[in-house]
């Protein structure tokens, strides 16, 4: 099949595993191969508009290549899903809409050996901090609907309640702040450096919490998250992740503009990657270093 001359409908028969494609081709393919797109009416409208534009462009034999960030981040979206919507298997987390400072710090963490995944490291090693920052801002600005929670692991209601308690109130006896204190009252993260905790698959949450606990995953020093996770026993971690992975997202899924008012973090839990969290009333500032 000659794709240069292909009409939109002819593309629909071609199936790929991850609905991977780009621009308007991608949207059209998703419509026919991904169920979740069918319920997304905005997607339909967008597709029809794009389709009309593209059909005109096609007639003029316009090149498909576009000089933009979507094109430049194909190496990312190959695993993290179209527009950074997350990979299909739970191991490649969503990138779209996460705070830019957080995404940028994760790229730095891979580049500087605080997080470990060979494929990531190899990809970003030749890139400089400015370009990594641009990629982070690109994904941060993408707006995509979140999937429904799917966690269905066996856990008692008591343990789930314990999870909820830790997330929303912490545990003063262990000096543990509530997750909401840093990750926002809605748990959708806080600009610019703190990620949301909802809409993540249970496997991913468990893998990350486990990696924090063993020191496989780290952040800029002082590493508040490592300190927090190390104070939580393993079965409480499962309770936390199980509760988080069962929560639907609130109507407003955006990260909060600033940390919730009230208590600031104790001195022992300062965050190198999010300095504003331990500075009362301070304006948000970017943490981490190139």
């Amino acid at each position: 099949m000659k794709k240069h001359s292909a009409l939109p409908h002819s593309v629909s028969g071609r199936k790929t595993r991850h609905c991977r494609c780009f621009g308007y081709l991608q949207r059209m393919r998703n419509l026919f191969t991904c169920k979740k797109s069918l319920s997304d009416w905005r997607g339909w409208v967008l597709s029809i508009c794009l389709g009309a534009t593209a059909s005109l462009a096609w007639g003029q034999n316009s090149p498909r290549f576009q000089d933009n960030m979507a094109e430049r981040t194909r190496a990312c979206t190959a695993c993290h899903g179209e527009a950074g919507r997350a990979g299909p298997d739970g191991y490649y987390p969503r990138l779209a809409g996460k705070p830019a400072g957080y995404l940028h710090n994760q790229l730095r963490n891979f580049a500087q050996g605080r997080r470990h995944y060979d494929l990531m490291t190899r990809l970003i090693d030749p890139l400089d901090d400015a370009y990594l920052g641009e990629m982070a801002r690109y994904f941060s600005a993408l707006e995509l609907p979140y999937p429904r929670p799917t966690a269905a692991n066996a856990i008692t209601p008591e343990r789930l309640a314990r999870g909820q308690q830790l997330v929303t109130r912490g545990d003063a006896t262990r000096g543990l702040p509530a997750c909401t204190q840093c990750h926002g009252a809605r748990l959708t993260g806080v600009q610019p450096n703190v990620p949301g905790l909802l809409g993540l698959p249970l496997d991913y949450l468990n893998a990350q919490l486990g990696a924090w606990q063993t020191g496989q995953r780290r952040a800029h020093a002082p590493d508040c998250m490592a300190e927090v996770v190390k104070r939580i026993p393993a079965d409480d971690l499962i309770a936390v992740s199980s509760w988080l992975a069962r929560q639907p997202l609130p109507t407003d899924t955006h990260p909060a503009a600033r940390p919730p008012a009230g208590a600031t973090l104790p001195a022992a839990l300062r965050c190198g990657s999010a300095p504003e969290l331990s500075a009362a009333g301070a304006a948000p500032q970017h943490g981490g270093q190139p």
């Binding site: 071609r14 290549f65 190496a75 970003i124 090693d125 370009y131």
Partner: protein, 441 residues
């Protein structure tokens, strides 16, 4: 005098023992007896000159990509500790910051010159040739002094390198001594009076600081690379990339590419007809992109002259005979995963400003290399070109290691090596598997 030997057997034994002793004595002299040539040391200069020396030293260190090995991931610059994999185990780079206990804090300019020139530490200990001292022996005394001036201007970092984990006896002093007697002798730079100063500057940089032959020459079973002037290409052990033959125009185009394009490739990581990837992308990122125009011109002139001096008739190209099944599979994979960026006709894609976004595959020298190693690496692990001033926002290739199996990759590589006028050999699933199985070091 002692009695004459009685039997033939005794005579042979005595002969063997004396030969061994003489050899051993020679090895000892060869390794520890030599002195670095009495320093044509650059005169110790007034402090006004010191800043210049440091600046020159930094430039030279960048040109030599010293930081590439002597800095650990996320570590302090030049404080060492980076693991370097060799076929004989891992070595860890040394701390070159001016810290007295674990770095070069107590080293004099003579000590440093001895390390570069003779591959011997201040203590007399023989250095492991993962440090390419056959190349650093080319470096002039003046450049050596500048390099040290820069190193000593860095913040001292107390950090001891982890112990090497080499298989016995590799890395022991006697083994190193024998190895060095076999494969190492210092080669101070000898300018060729028949060539221009520019050519000689290029030769000096390529053979010395640039240590190009460390990758671009074949390595033998004992890990020795070719002479510093040998640029005939080689498969890099462990990392599994093929460094092309720089004297062969078919592989690199150095004889026929305009000089400005060679300079552009080293400066920006990409030219109109070539892109750097893998280890060469690192060389551009940490090394050549920092070099000045004059030095890059000199390097280009030297490399081009080396390539032009080697005239050879193009090898007869026999187009691979591919089974219908492989051809069909290759086309299928290409259309599904490659054509969107590289185009159905393998023409690639360029930006509006004319920069290569996705390289053309038709007629691409890297695609046609006899050894398909780099192609397999590229498909397995994808990658970006290096960020440089000329290419601040490169496009990237996704990794396919999790998505395509060995047969798919072999078929698609065979496809693009035999389409659009390309006539290179078939790639087999076994070749793909070998590289996949080696993993990422």
């Amino acid at each position: 005098m002692s009695m004459a030997p009685q039997t033939t057997r005794q005579r042979i034994a005595l002969g063997l023992i004396s030969t061994l002793l003489i050899l051993a004595a020679w090895v000892v002299w060869d390794n520890w007896g030599r002195q670095a040539p009495a320093a044509p040391a650059t005169t110790t200069s007034p402090s006004a000159d010191a800043a210049q020396r440091i600046e020159r030293g930094q430039y030279l260190a960048r040109a030599g990509n010293c930081v590439g090995c002597h800095t650990a991931r996320g570590g302090k610059p030049m404080a060492g500790g980076r693991r370097i994999e060799t076929p004989f185990g891992s070595v860890f780079s040394t701390n070159l910051t001016p810290e007295p206990a674990t770095g070069l804090g107590l080293w004099s300019a003579d000590d440093f010159w001895q390390a570069l020139h003779l591959g011997r530490a201040k203590s007399g200990r023989l250095l492991i040739p993962a440090f390419p001292y056959n190349h650093t022996s080319v470096i002039s005394r003046s450049d050596s002094d500048d390099l040290l001036a820069w190193l000593q201007s860095l913040p001292p970092v107390q950090q001891k390198a982890p112990t090497h984990t080499l298989v016995w006896p590799v890395g022991t002093q006697p083994a190193l001594a024998v190895w060095r007697s076999l494969f190492f002798s210092p080669t101070p730079f000898q300018p060729d009076p028949n060539q221009t100063p520019q050519w000689n500057r290029g030769a000096y940089l390529v053979q010395g600081l640039g240590h190009c032959a460390a990758c671009h020459s074949p390595r033998n079973e004992l890990g020795a690379s070719g002479a510093v002037t040998n640029l005939s290409g080689g498969l890099m052990p462990v990392v599994n990339w093929y460094a092309p033959d720089l004297t062969n125009d078919t592989e690199t185009g150095l004889a026929s590419t305009p000089l400005a394009e060679i300079v552009r490739l080293l400066q920006s990581g990409a030219s109109a007809s070539a892109q750097t990837s893998g280890p060469m992308a690192e060389v551009v990122q940490h090394g050549t992109r920092h070099m000045n125009e004059a030095d890059l011109q000199a390097v280009a002139v030297y490399l081009q002259s080396r390539a032009q001096a080697m005239t050879r008739s193009p090898l007869p190209t026999a187009k691979a005979v591919v089974t219908a099944r492989v051809a069909e599979q290759g086309l299928k994979v290409y259309e599904r995963h490659c054509a969107q960026c590289h185009d159905e006709q393998g023409r690639g894609a360029t930006t509006v400003s004319g920069d290569v976004a996705y390289p053309a595959l038709a007629g691409n020298r890297a695609v046609l290399l006899r050894d398909p190693t780099n192609l397999v690496q590229t498909v397995l692990y994808g990658g970006y070109g290096p960020v440089t001033a000329g290419h601040p926002r490169p496009f990237g290739m996704p990794p396919f290691v999790l998505e395509l199996d060995d047969r798919d990759i072999a078929a698609v590589l065979t496809h693009l090596r035999t389409q659009w006028g390309n006539t290179a050999g078939e790639v087999t699933p076994l070749q793909v598997n070998r590289i996949r199985a080696a993993g990422t070091p």
